[in-house]
Amino acid sequence: MTGTAGALAFLIAHTTRNRIARQLGRLKSPRYAIAAIVGLLYFWLVFARPGAVGRNPGTVGTSPVLGTVGGIGFAITVLVWWLRGGVTGALAFQPAEVQLLFPAPVSRRTLIGYKVIRSQLLLLLSGLIWTLLTRRWGVTLSAPLRFATIWGFFSVLSLHRLGTALVMTQPLTGGRRAALYAGRALAAAAAFGLLAGVGPVVLRLRTLGFEEGFRALGAALAAPPAAWALAPFRLMLAPLYAPSLAAWVPAFAIVLGVILLHLVWVLSLNVAFEEVAATASADMAKRISAFRERRAGGAAVIRPGKAVRSWLPLAPLGQPAVAIVWKNTVALIRTGILRAALMVVLVLVAMSGVMMRAADNGGPATAIPFLILAGMAFVLGPRMVRNDLRQDLLSLASIKTYPLSGAMVVLAEMASPTLVLSVFQFAMLAMAYVMLPAAYRVVVDLPSTLAIGLVLPFAILAINAASVGVQNAVALLFPTWVRLGADSGGIEAIGQTLVVTIGSMLVLLLSLVLPVGAAVTIATVLRPTVGGIGVAVGAAVGVIALGIEVGFLVGGLGALFERTDPTSIG
């Protein structure tokens, strides 16, 4: 191969080879090797071990329901592209490609061809992963046929998105303007067909009941006009639920034909896409960087232009460490985690309200969503809410210049997630109690209620402090484990997450042994004589013991913080 094509082939071949070599080379490092082994083990246990196949193989693979459900999803995706736009991401190149290939003497058609070939690497990998996933879901096609089918479907999707983006690239000229209008008209007609077929059934769902409604919905989707609207989309999925090889071959041949047509389409569109592509590439690079940073241990990254005036005040003078708590809480507000949590709570309140209207007032079930959320916040919260040292690991050099002792920095860093999680969990427990019908509430005498009510917030605070402390300890003790490196990914990233999660859970459980042991012993001894107050006293002793443990942890981490060289963190 010579000339431009040869250079582009060289680029693809060598970047792929070097990337694989780099990933394999990293396995010489124990942390990457262990992470990769754990990740592979996890993958094998979940997807590949004998017996990991779904319980009823065949029920999904041969069911036309898959075609219908998948077809609807596929249809909605494509219709949204045509009617709403926003597909410029399909034109994104890598920053180095924009810098080196766009000014080079490479034709637009060659650039698009390069992009199509380059995207195949990702599509083949996605095909492999989904081949494993669908094995677990019980699709009956053999693995090679499943792989070919999934690759074909993804290729159509990818090429269609690229074609749509090229058609929509501004400024629109004669032929493309007509193509866009035609595409939108077809999409609108398909959307109308779907709604016209399904809409009447959806409106009658309440009267029909679940089973009858589901049957009616299936019938509506199988009959015109919905069936006409879905037909091209079902056709692309048809190989996936082909009952035999004889049925699969013609179905897949149609998909291959559609891929070829798409190829001709995208390569024949001579569009000046460079400006749109450069912008899309920059956006994509930012998103990838944000995603990698977050996966690698940082907090969610804020999109530029999304800053809102913080409603959280900070007095100009006072304990300096409070500034760090303030900074981290502002980060939490800006990254949208609090907003997401509020949305979940609102949904739960609505669900609980619906349950309360049931014949038996919903019974204890009205409180369960809140209890589940509180429990999840205890287990997953400290891993998810990471506006502490984990977020600030890369700013360690800057933070180390602050006029604060190491222990004070660590305490301040831990404070924000601890307080936020504690307030949230306490609110969820309070909501669960409020939502519980009076008939189901355990009646305890007033002094015991007061005693437990006084201890509970501190218990929640101490458990969260310990949990957040363990996460921060992992970050400081093993920064390279918490942050494998922004360019790590795949199997090793999965393995690394598993190792860190399991390790920190074990340490947390160990740290709870002594306080819980003390609390249970004291409560058991005192309860027969003083009732509920005995439980409260036991819990208070447990909280104090845990508080002392957290104090030692903060002191130790403070000393470690002062010794930590920021250059040792990737």
């Binding site: 100009p316 502002v330 360690l396 210049t401 010794r563």
Partner: protein
Amino acid sequence: MIEVSGLTKTYGTVTAVDALSFGVAPGEVLGLVGPNGAGKTTTLRCLCGIINPTVGNIRIADHDLRTDGPRAKATLAFVPDEPQLFDYLTVDEHLKFVGRLYGVADAADRAPRLLEELELTDKRRALPGELSRGMKQKLAIACGLLHRPRALILDEPLTGLDPAGIKKMRATIADRAREGAAVILSSHLLHLVEELCTRLLVIRKGRCVALGTLPEIVATRPDLAGQSLEDIFLSLTA
């Protein structure tokens, strides 16, 4: 104001900084120069408490950095070559944060003036992601100057600044020194070093190869007489 004695930093078998001793008096600007990999950034990072020296003592405003870190750090400011800003704090909020951290009573008055001086007023509600490289550098400088540091440590402070920004920064450094701050300036821009610095510390492979005013350095090496700073630098670090 800044006293360093026997500063040594080793990484395994590699000695990045080897027994450096020097002092910077109030009002003095010490230029720290040396070729790439000479140990300049490591030295500056030790002076700011970012990394601990393997051997040696550092005192800032009469406070030992090792035993009395918070007090020593309260008097200094470090402006690195790569500004480290918080993605989720606006320009205004960065200054508010630093004001509280260093207990700056008049931060509310000083911050707008600093922003005006560094031409960041229009960007005061912007997040760092919306700022250019030069603007980020200016914000890092504003954060460093807010608490009127008595010791100012600058690592390539002009990186990314436009000509107007460079001119203002030069004036700012000179002003701070006139107000009594001890300044250490590390830069490869030798004309800037020559213009601003009262003394020079030239290091190579972590070791001091020259310390003093330009005439003092030339006095110890008569062969350098009459040469430009660039030639003197190249001769000393060859």
